[in-house]
């Protein structure tokens, strides 16, 4: 192996043939990758391409089945995150690895190897947060902080260990465009200090903007090493996906018609310490319209969805109106019977019961609305009819599954999401409310889901999409409203909406202000 090695003196990290198996699935298949000192290296790939598995092996959270890792020219075995940290590898996780019940300083203290007094840690954290432009209150409880603030803790925690390689896993997926800009400034500063960064993302523009080199993964293999600045976004996308992603087709919005879903002065107090209270939300979604709600995660989207779907009832019956009738006092089945359909954010455990089969999950959500089709008069399940409907949905949405009727948990995220959305679309609902329709779903499945939502609206239904993904909202919506701290802005028609405008609202700026006023964070 060493004979074939090129001369790469000065390499910080040199990975050869790294392989990881999960059962018979090769999550990573012989991955080669080198990282130089002072370089920002992008790791690109779709969901399931093996990016996360790869970096977990670098960080010692997973054990490779084969392959070598050389760190500063020495072959090393990284058996635990502790080992990785000792070498000088730090990681900022995509799903934050913070402890909600502890304070920021306590969280930071936990990752330091040598016990230091709490006061000293807080002081050092404050120092770092100022040096890198990452404002932070060491005594705040993490559960109370916004996602952007949590990420700052993660980064500071990582920096306290003085790492030479920092792994960032999808760091901007939860940030507003402005917060992302601030993060890029921090990264540039780190790079100037000679630290290396492995930057995992599927946002191509971002990678083109800040990364020096890129490695593209597809189905666990390295497809290409390239210079992202010389590539176009679409050439990078082609490498990631393998073929061109089909663009979603959208027609011009027709003139406003009847409002099918109305929300009037909806307010809701926060039910628990980590919840957001909603204040005075007004909204109308018309027939043939797709309305998007943008916002950084944790600004009340979940609470809003619960209120609209009927998981939580409203005090006033007219706070939510479906097809011109008051629905505020109706529960979720009542609202479904009025012609509405809902798809919550979490697929497993919320939209679908993990250990029940697809047909059972179908029956669970539709046993009231389709009682005549699925149940006999005595309430006995018509297995044949349910199985047929499940198959119809799977075919319509191209759900790829093993076996005729597998358990929901056995499906991949994208396929389960297609099924969950297809289950509601199959009813041809007049009102459709979806929370994060394509969160963690690969590009092919995402395109299919988006097209299905547009097709539904073309058929005269009202569609409300809550999403953190701005690209998605700009692609499918006729208007975009922004949720911030439990308040909803007026919808901006898509013709007038820009990333900057929406991004400022996501950061809490007041609309129509002469100068954008960012709220103090």
């Amino acid at each position: 192996m060493s004979a074939t090695r090129e001369n790469r003196a000065g390499n910080l990290l040199d990975v050869r043939g790294l392989t990881k198996l999960f059962g018979s699935l090769k999550a990573c298949d012989g991955i080669d990758l080198t990282i130089d000192r002072g370089e920002i290296h992008a790791l690109l790939g779709e969901n399931g391409a093996g990016k996360s598995t790869f970096v977990k092996m670098l960080f010692g959270a997973l054990e490779p089945a084969a392959g070598t890792i050389r760190w500063k020219g020495e072959e090393v075995r990284i058996a635990s995150p502790g080992d990785a940290r000792k070498l000088g590898i730090g990681m900022v996780f995509q799903h934050f690895s913070l402890f909600d019940a502890l304070t920021a300083a306590e969280n930071i203290m936990l990752s330091l190897d040598d016990p230091a007094p709490a006061g000293a840690v807080a002081a050092r954290a404050r120092e770092l947060s100022e040096a890198y432009g990452l404002p932070l209150d060491p005594n705040a409880h993490v559960g109370d902080l916004s996602v952007g603030e949590r990420q700052r803790i993660e980064i500071i925690r990582c920096l306290l260990q003085n790492p030479e390689l920092i792994i960032l896993d999808e760091p901007t997926s939860v940030l507003t465009p402005q917060e992302a800009d601030r993060l890029f400034d921090t990264l540039a500063r780190l790079k100037a200090e000679g630290r290396s960064i492995l930057y995992i993302s599927h946002r191509l523009e971002e990678v083109k903007r800040i990364c020096d080199r890129a490695t593209v993964l597809r189905q666990g293999r390295v497809i290409a090493h390239c210079d992202p600045r010389r590539e176009t976004a679409s050439s990078l996308a082609r490498m990631m996906v393998g073929d061109e992603v089909q663009a979603v087709v959208r027609e011009k919005p027709s003139a406003a018609r009847e409002a099918l879903l109305e929300v009037r002065a909806l307010s809701r107090k926060a039910g628990h310490p980590f919840a957001v209270s909603l204040s005075d939300i007004d909204l109308a979604v018309h027939a043939g319209e797709v309305l998007g709600i943008a916002g950084v995660a944790g600004n009340g989207q979940g609470e809003f969805f619960e209120a609209v779907s009927g998981e939580v009832l409203q005090e006033k019956a007219d706070a939510v109106r479906i097809r011109g009738k008051d629905a505020g006092r109706q529960d979720i089945s009542g609202r479904r019977l009025m012609g509405a359909a809902f798809v919550p954010e979490e697929r497993l455990g919320h939209a679908a019961a993990p250990l029940m089969t697809l047909s059972q999950n179908l029956l669970l959500s539709r046993c009231r609305t389709d009682a005549r089709a699925f149940l006999s008069r005595l309430g006995i399940i018509r297995q044949g009819a349910v199985a047929k409907a499940a198959k119809r949905i799977a075919d319509a949405m191209d759900v790829r599954k093993a076996g005729e009727d597998p358990e929901a948990a056995a499906l991949s995220g994208g396929n389960l999401q297609k099924f969950v959305i297809g289950r509601e679309l199959d009813r041809a609902p007049m009102v459709m409310v979806v929370n994060q329709p394509t969160w963690g779903v690969d590009a092919g499945a995402a395109a299919r889901i988006r097209q299905a939502l547009i097709d539904l609206s073309k058929g005269g239904s009202a569609v409300l999409v809550i999403s953190q993904d701005l690209d998605e909202l700009f692609e499918i919506c006729d208007a975009i409203a922004v949720m911030h701290h439990g308040r909803l802005s007026a919808p901006i028609p898509i013709g007038e909406a820009t990333y900057e405008k929406v991004g400022l609202l996501m950061g809490g700026a007041r609309p129509e202000a002469a100068e954008p006023m960012l709220e103090a964070v």
């Binding site: 934050f96 502890l102 306590e106 936990l110």
Partner: protein
């Protein structure tokens, strides 16, 4: 009269406090061990039998602590290494302990036992009214309060305590931080078992120095409930344990005085009062949520 009532209250509260303090540490690490009653009764029979056989009360106490920890080790091995269901395993441990102690204790029923003597601090314990109460109790009474202070200090002022709370809050993150989740939980579970064993020994060597089958009489369950209602905060457990002890003794005296309330109702008073008061003090939901170990009862299997 009042002084002696207060002393009996302390005697009733101490075993609850010791057992609950152990379980509090276990639950703070994210493990729910419903076997407290079983470990406690094993401590009671062990303490009684060893003290009687060897003639040394302290040997009995230490043996009870060891047996409690050993029993907890069984629970730990099953739930942490073999990842069995914590609720079912804990219940099984309780049933096992009750049965095994009954069998082992058969020959000890009705025999007079040894009593752990009380400490007598000269002069201070002769002070009027508070003297006996504060300065003339049994050593385990002082130990229980010391234990509370130590647990509170450990949890909130030491790095090891911070690690334990981190494991209980989010074991996946703790693992990613390089903390050995399973090892931390093993230690916590064994500490809980040792405390339960000690609490059991208190019953058979101090509270009523004799062996009666099922003599824990549900105190293990009360200790479990105290931990939850005290929202996993050490000093609140003290309040809960003493309140429970107080109402228990109070209602006994009320029954003796022939108060015209059905005795069944009086007997249930300690439970009702404890629940009512602890519910009131845990009204602050924010504080409760901050203190509830989020991983409680969830099995941990590291990815490999």
């Amino acid at each position: 009269m009042l002084e002696s009532i207060l002393i009996t209250i302390a005697t009733a509260a101490t075993p609850l406090l010791i057992a609950a303090m152990g379980e509090l540490v276990v639950e703070r690490s994210g493990v729910l061990n419903l076997g407290v009653e079983g470990m406690m009764i094993m401590g009671a029979i062990t303490g009684f039998a060893v003290a009687l056989t060897t003639g040394s009360v302290w040997l009995g106490v230490f043996a009870a602590i060891l047996v409690g920890a050993a029993f907890a080790l069984i629970f730990g091995f099953l739930t942490l290494s073999l990842v069995t269901n914590q609720v079912a395993t804990g219940l099984a441990l309780t049933l096992f302990g009750l049965g095994l102690s009954g069998m082992l204790g058969e020959g000890f029923v009705g025999r007079p036992g040894l009593r752990l003597g009380r400490i007598d601090i000269p002069f201070l314990s002769d002070l009027p009214f508070v003297g006996r109460l504060l300065f003339g109790q049994d050593p385990l009474f002082y130990l229980s309060l010391l234990l509370t202070a130590a647990v509170a200090y450990f949890l909130f002022a030491t790095r090891a305590g911070l690690m334990l709370r981190a494991v209980g809050d989010n074991h996946t993150s703790a693992h990613a931080q390089g903390i050995n989740v399973v090892a931390v939980r093993y230690l916590a579970v064994m500490f809980g078992g040792a405390c339960a064993g000690l609490a059991g020994a208190y019953l058979s060597l101090v509270y009523t120095p004799q062996w009666v089958e099922n003599m824990t009489a549900g105190r293990g369950w009360i200790a479990l409930a105290l931990v939850v209602f005290a929202s996993w905060r050490p000093w609140r457990v003290v309040a809960g344990a003493y309140l429970f002890g107080g109402v228990t003794i109070g209602q006994l005296h009320a029954q003796a005085l022939g108060v015209a309330i059905p005795s069944q109702l009086l007997s249930s008073l300690p439970y009702l009062a404890t629940i009512a008061v602890l519910v009131i003090i845990s009204r602050n939901r924010r504080l409760t949520m901050m203190n509830t170990p989020a991983s409680l009862g969830r099995p941990f299997v590291p990815e490999r």
